[in-house]
């Protein structure tokens, strides 16, 4: 009798942010690793937590190439605390992020931050799969 627990990942970004090539490619890489990837675009960050809970994901991966990074992520972490899922679900953020922003994100409880010029999408895949 085999049981088939699969790793489930929510890959998401703001609907306002048009930069989507990298997340689409990431989605493909994660899928090819045998994971189940739920891909969405959100209008407000509250949707992300609702989705993550209903889909029972192991990881939330978000991408930011424009405004909203710190605001959205802070709100995400707050909502996760409210729902009692902070720490239960890993949060990984990537995009055009500066050093001070990265420190801020790690401080509020983000598990991993991927910045420009640091590593490759393969590293993201490994981080998600870990």
């Amino acid at each position: 009798m085999e049981t088939k627990m699969k790793k489930r990942i929510l890959v998401t970004k703001s609907d306002q942010d048009a930069h989507e090539v990298s997340v689409r490619y990431l989605t493909q890489l994660l899928r090819d690793k045998g994971m189940e990837v739920i891909f969405t675009r959100y209008s407000i960050i509250d949707e992300v937590v609702k989705t993550a809970v209903e889909e029972d994901v192991d990881v939330i991966a978000m991408s930011f190439y424009s405004a909203g990074l710190v605001y959205d992520t802070t709100r995400l972490m707050e909502l996760m605390s409210e729902q009692g899922i902070k720490g239960d679900i890993k949060v990984v953020i990537g995009g055009t992020i500066s050093e001070p922003e990265k420190r801020e994100l790690l401080k509020i409880g983000v598990d991993e931050v991927f910045m420009p010029g640091v590593g490759t999408l393969q590293d993201v895949v490994e981080c998600v799969n870990a």
């Binding site: 739920i38 959100y42 989705t51 889909e55």
Partner: protein, 329 residues
Amino acid sequence: MKTKQSSADLVRDMLNGSVRATARLITLVEANDSSVPEIMKQVYPHSGKAYVIGFTGAPGAGKSTVVGKLARLLDQSGKKVAIIAIDPSSPFTGGALLGDRIRMMEDLGTKQNVFIRSLGSRGEMGGLSEATYRVANVLDAFGKDYIFVETVGAGQAEIEVTKLADSVVVVLSPGMGDEIQAMKAGTMEIGDIVVLNKADQAGADMLASSLKVALHWATKNGEREPVLVKTIAVQQKGIEELWKELEVYRDYSIENGQLKQRREKRIRIEICKIMEDKIMRYLDKFTSDSKEFDQGIKEVSIDNKNPSQQAEVLLETFLSYLKQQENLK
């Protein structure tokens, strides 16, 4: 890392209204975890109230949009809806891109009473139908009034899933092949209601009239002819009409016993699945533990015995092993 919770705790939390616990239970049920028989035992007494509607059709016809709009309509009238959206898993890696939800975000993104769950088909041998209806049972026990099951209309397993719903909606759209395509096996046979979506596009009226003819031909004497509903889902057009037709069909299916028949079929596969799982568990144990089985293999490979005959002999041994194991309990 996710905190571990016993299945009994999860069921208790779900019945107290926890979305998180419900989602966790679905994960266990979908993976056919060893706790599933226990979970289903506890869930079953609380289920049986929800009405299940299956949606199928070619990729791109607008299933997710139709489902999303219909869910919004019901949500506005205070009904609790759950959506199970099934997308194909890769037969090579087992991975899947579950992308139905994205079409529903605009309407349902923050609607607290609408629960959406994406499932990968996880291969046809994975018992998709059983898993899907167990998930539906969980959502039913959670207190949902309506459960929509959406599948891509390709592949036997997916069509089988839809066929087991209380009613079935087939979604089509113009520009996806001519009326001869629509007459191919499947499409015309499984729908209780056929939706022609994107009804504002070129060729929609032509397709509608040939669909009506095809539906008429596909209906056997004495059966109810599927109704054709035209929608432009992105503009919310035709969604209320679709809902009305679904209600009409529900009344009809209660009256003529079709609903009862379909539910009995679901119970049948559920019971078969539980028996099958149990037998498989014993068979696994038998083939890995029993000396007779190893001996049987040797007799074929070394003494050149016939494998078919050997299987017959071993089956007898297994059956008495099964009885013995059951008696021990």
